[in-house]
Symmetry: C2
Subunit: 165 residues, 2 copies
DNA sequence: TCGGTATCGCTAGCCAGGCTAGATGTTTCT
DNA sequence: AGAAACATCTAGCCTGGCTAGCGATACCGA
């Protein structure tokens, strides 16, 4: 923690550079989400929900309110409000579940499809190009690195209020 | 958009795998932030502010409310409230700016230092180890990839409400 | 088949943490 | 000196979370 370049522990400058790139990427991603959702006049959570529904449909599945809540890590009550907002804005629709009448299937409207597509397809295309620009032989290392990072972030890091005993 | 594996445009499976890793990493990162701040009984924004102040101090600079607001992309009014919370909790202190008496310098308390250190140093250490595990020859490609992604995310993506004219 | 329990989404009501507008004191420019 | 710009704070509002609890439906064991 004595170094001037943030708070990474890294002796090797190429490692420090790598971690700094990671940090920049995280910020850039968060900022992008803000901008996209602001551009669609909705909040980030609603945007993610919309993407989830569309992705689920494309996977051939049904998007259920409960699953949306779990995906977003918010309560089912909040999800009800979220669905109210997105149905009011014409992005989503509620329809009855084919087999479970307690439940609801959430579907996206063509309007939502179009809007998401207009805003994100260019970006996804560009990201695919950036990925394609990575030399073939470096890709496994890259994927391994990101997965290791994800696994680590998933595993550790204080759920408990520190020395709860 | 006809493919089952989310919504990436990618023919080459190694590219698709890479983009999927990116996606997982983004989620893992966001989830980790939630857990860490919940573990410290504060919200994510306050946590980021705290990290910013500590990082600024270690860089030898002064953390000013205005800069914190800019860093977090919130208003200065919200920043005032944020500082109220973090001073009340004993993590930060307000002191007078040495040369500009309109302004305020925000400093972190030893308590904040300790708590952040206890929670994040292990994680940062582990991240450095993961970074160190990347083969030397793959590092430039990795850094380049992340920087290109960041640059792209920074550049594009609808600030405007789509066809404003 | 029927009764108990679990599960689904929803409603009601609360609270944290954003925002805008505007006040106050300070600096800077002419 | 005076005007304009600036840094922060206060007052008051609104969004988007949360918990508690409800009616309807599904499931499961006797």
């Amino acid at each position: 923690m004595t170094d001037a370049s943030h708070f990474w522990y890294a002796d090797d400058p190429s490692i420090a550079a790598l971690l700094e790139s990671v940090r920049r990427f995280r910020r850039a991603d968060a900022d992008m989400r803000r901008r996209v959702s602001a551009g669609m006049a909705m909040n980030v959570t609603d945007m993610q929900a919309l993407q989830y529904v569309i992705a689920t449909e494309q996977r051939g599945g049904h998007a259920l309110p409960r699953d949306i809540a779990a995906y977003l890590a918010i309560s089912t009550a909040s999800t009800t409000k979220l669905l109210d907002r997105l149905t009011a804005s014409g992005h989503l629709e509620r329809s009855t579940h084919p087999t479970d009448r307690r439940s609801v299937v959430v579907t996206s409207t063509p309007h939502a499809h179009d809007e998401i597509h207009a805003r994100l397809s260019r970006m996804h295309q560009a990201m695919a190009e950036i990925a394609a620009a990575v030399p073939d032989e470096a890709r496994p290392a890259l994927t391994a690195f990101l997965d290791a990072m994800s696994a680590h972030l998933d595993s550790e890091t204080g759920v408990e209020p520190l020395t709860p005993a």
